[in-house]
């Protein structure tokens, strides 16, 4: 089992530094070759203090973390936000989201990014005096989209495997299988409904077939309410 690099958190660490502090305690730092290189630290003169490495790492935190998270998402899947059509891979170009719903759509990949930049994933500051009714954008935790659910399960599986919690991993794997089976059933139902609707032209609830395929639906802004409405 590889120890992941402590800077990017993704690639396996290949350089392991142990520092003996004055108190007698030890501090360890595990880094991968790519991060060592990006830090530009000359190692031939002996390893620099760990604090110095971490400090240097913090400077490029935003760029590095976004890039590494994006690379992983692209490798796995890169489905667009059902509301604005933006893909997470596009986010890396200029670190600008397309709409507030992106925070829900990309939640599973966003949380590690937020954790690394802000050291937190939960807001503690003030909020609107009049807290609006919970609706999708306002309470991402209240809505589980199929995409979000799949990412959540996949991340949980990966984490369980990384931590070598195999019992937990097996449980999540079963949940994931069940999820895929359920998605398959929903899709089949939708397809047959669409077919029925086509046969029975004119009476079809055309919107329903799209329910389970948020990915390929929207053009940007298609579902926006007109300005001035609804608030």
């Amino acid at each position: 089992m590889h120890t992941p690099c402590q800077l990017c958190g993704k690639r396996p660490a290949t350089t392991h530094l142990t520092e003996l502090e004055a108190s007698g305690a030890t501090r360890e730092l595990h880094l991968c070759g790519t991060c060592i290189q990006s830090l530009g630290v000359p190692l031939q003169d002996g390893p620099p203090p760990i604090s110095q490495l971490l400090e240097k790492g913090a400077e490029d935190l935003v760029l590095q973390t976004t890039e590494s998270v994006v690379a992983e998402v692209v490798e796995n899947d890169d489905e667009p936000c059902p509301h604005c059509g933006m893909k997470f891979s596009e986010y890396s170009a200029n670190n600008l989201f397309g709409c507030a719903h992106d925070y829900t759509a990309f939640r599973d990949v966003l949380d590690p990014l937020l954790k690394r930049y802000h050291g937190a994933t939960q807001h503690l500051g003030r909020g609107p005096t009049r807290i609006p009714d919970p609706e999708p954008v306002l309470a991402p935790e209240a809505v589980r989209t199929p995409l979000g659910e799949r990412r959540r399960l996949e991340a949980a599986l990966k984490e369980a495997v990384t931590r070598e919690h195999y019992e937990e991993a097996a449980k999540v794997r079963d949940e994931l299988r069940q999820f895929h089976a359920e998605q398959e059933r929903v899709r089949a139902r939708a397809t047959s409904r669409t077919r029925d609707a086509r046969l029975d032209a004119g009476r079809a609830p055309a919107g329903e077939a799209a329910v389970d395929e948020p990915g390929d639906s929207t053009t940007p802004g298609a579902d926006e309410p007109p300005l001035g409405a609804g608030s």
């Binding site: 400090e55 913090a58 400077e59 935003v62 509301h83 604005c84 059509g85 933006m86 200029n94 670190n95 600008l96 989201f97 397309g98 709409c99 507030a100 925070y103 966003l110 990014l113 937020l114 930049y117 802000h118 050291g119 937190a120 994933t121 939960q122 807001h123 503690l124 500051g125 003030r126 909020g127 609107p128 005096t129 009049r130 807290i131 609006p132 919970p134 954008v137 306002l138 309470a139 991402p140 935790e141 940007p220 802004g221 926006e224 309410p225 300005l227 001035g228 609804g230 608030s231």
Partner: protein, 351 residues
């Protein structure tokens, strides 16, 4: 309604040296980023809808409590020089000044409040004042935010707080900044250590005009990096405490310059005085660098003939767009540099 020319001809809200700390703490700024719920962020919003958004936000600003007598304008209707003058007065960002999209700004009569419309986020609300005034500015910013809340519903999540276009602003949407003048720390070479220490405290240092801008004239802006998982007042407090320590370090470095290298210091200050009272052509860079030494000279009482108010006036009104708006025949640098030298000479020698 005031005009940009009216603004350019007078003092700004954030430059009243020396303040409490011998001109070290120049100004304090709170910025809140907000987006309207249900409307996509700027990059996924069509031009037409951006225009609608700007108009809707302007209407909301009209209704905001106590908002009277300022300047409310759509930026594409302004000339390049007018937009640039707003950047020089720190009322809009460089990014917004350069953008061709629909956008606007609402500026209060006293220039303490400035609200950018359709910047990276739908709304960027700023409160800026001279001296160490972060706590007070936060109160003012929250008051305006609450007033706008009665007209608009912000994109907000119980988990992530205020939802912003970039993940680096999510949560409070707040950036608290203090602008410092640190010539002695730069001169003694201790500044690098200070900057390294700030990175550990999750704070950052930028030039006068925000992200990506160079620190010129020894002006540095200290800001928080993190906005999620922290309360606004805690961020403000930690920035203020850190700034207190930097101010103490700058004061010690100044004392060290006086104690160990008085002749060298006096030489630098008086050479700067010599350049500024004699030059026949001055570009912005040369002016900024020399004014920085005059500021230090006045603070350390080695230059009795200069006044703070004159230095502030030069700093603000000899910037390129200010010259362009306030004087005839100042449209290109070849015309501006001699004009700048003349004004600086006149104002310094009139003391």
């Amino acid at each position: 309604m005031i005009s940009i020319n009216d603004l350019a001809g007078r003092d700004c809200s954030w430059l009243h040296s020396p303040g409490e700390h011998d001109g070290i703490v120049v100004s304090s700024r709170i910025r809140l980023a907000r987006n309207v719920a249900g409307i996509p962020f700027q990059r996924k919003l069509s031009k037409a809808r951006q225009q609608e958004l700007v108009e809707r936000l302007s209407e909301a600003m009209d209704k905001a409590a106590g908002w009277t007598g300022g300047l409310q304008v759509q930026l594409p209707r302004l000339s390049d020089a007018e937009r640039q003058a707003l950047v020089e007065r720190q009322l809009i960002s460089r990014e917004l000044a350069a953008a061709k999209r629909p956008s606007g700004v609402c500026i209060s009569e006293n220039e303490i409040f400035s609200v950018m419309l359709n910047e990276e986020d739908h709304v960027r609300l700023q409160v800026i004042q001279a001296g160490a005034s972060l706590e007070r500015n936060l109160e003012l910013a929250v008051a305006l935010d609450q007033s706008l809340e009665r007209e608009l519903e912000w994109a907000y999540s119980q988990t992530y707080g205020y939802l912003t276009a970039c993940h680096t602003n999510v949560g409070t949407g707040m950036r608290a900044s203090i602008m410092l003048h640190l010539p002695a720390l730069a001169e003694t070479g201790e500044l690098k250590q200070v900057l390294r220490a700030l990175a550990k405290l999750h704070m950052t240092v930028r030039g006068t005009h925000g992200e990506g801008s160079e620190a010129t004239g020894h002006y540095y802006q200290v800001s928080n990096l993190r906005s999620l998982g922290l309360q606004e007042r805690d961020v403000v407090q930690s920035i203020s405490e850190t700034v207190d320590r930097i101010v103490a370090a700058e004061q010690m470095a100044r004392q060290a310059l006086l104690d160990k290298g008085r002749v060298r210091l006096e030489d630098k200050v008086h050479r700067a005085w010599g350049v500024l009272t004699n030059a026949r052509s001055l570009n912005t860079e040369e002016l900024t660098e020399n004014i920085s030494w005059l500021r230090l000279g006045v603070a350390l009482r080695v230059l009795p003939q200069a006044k703070w108010s004159t230095l502030d006036r030069i700093t603000l009104q000899c910037q390129p767009a200010h010259l362009q708006l306030l004087h005839a025949d100042a449209d290109d640098p070849a015309q501006r540099d001699p004009l700048r030298a003349t004004l600086v000479r006149e104002w310094l020698c009139a003391n």
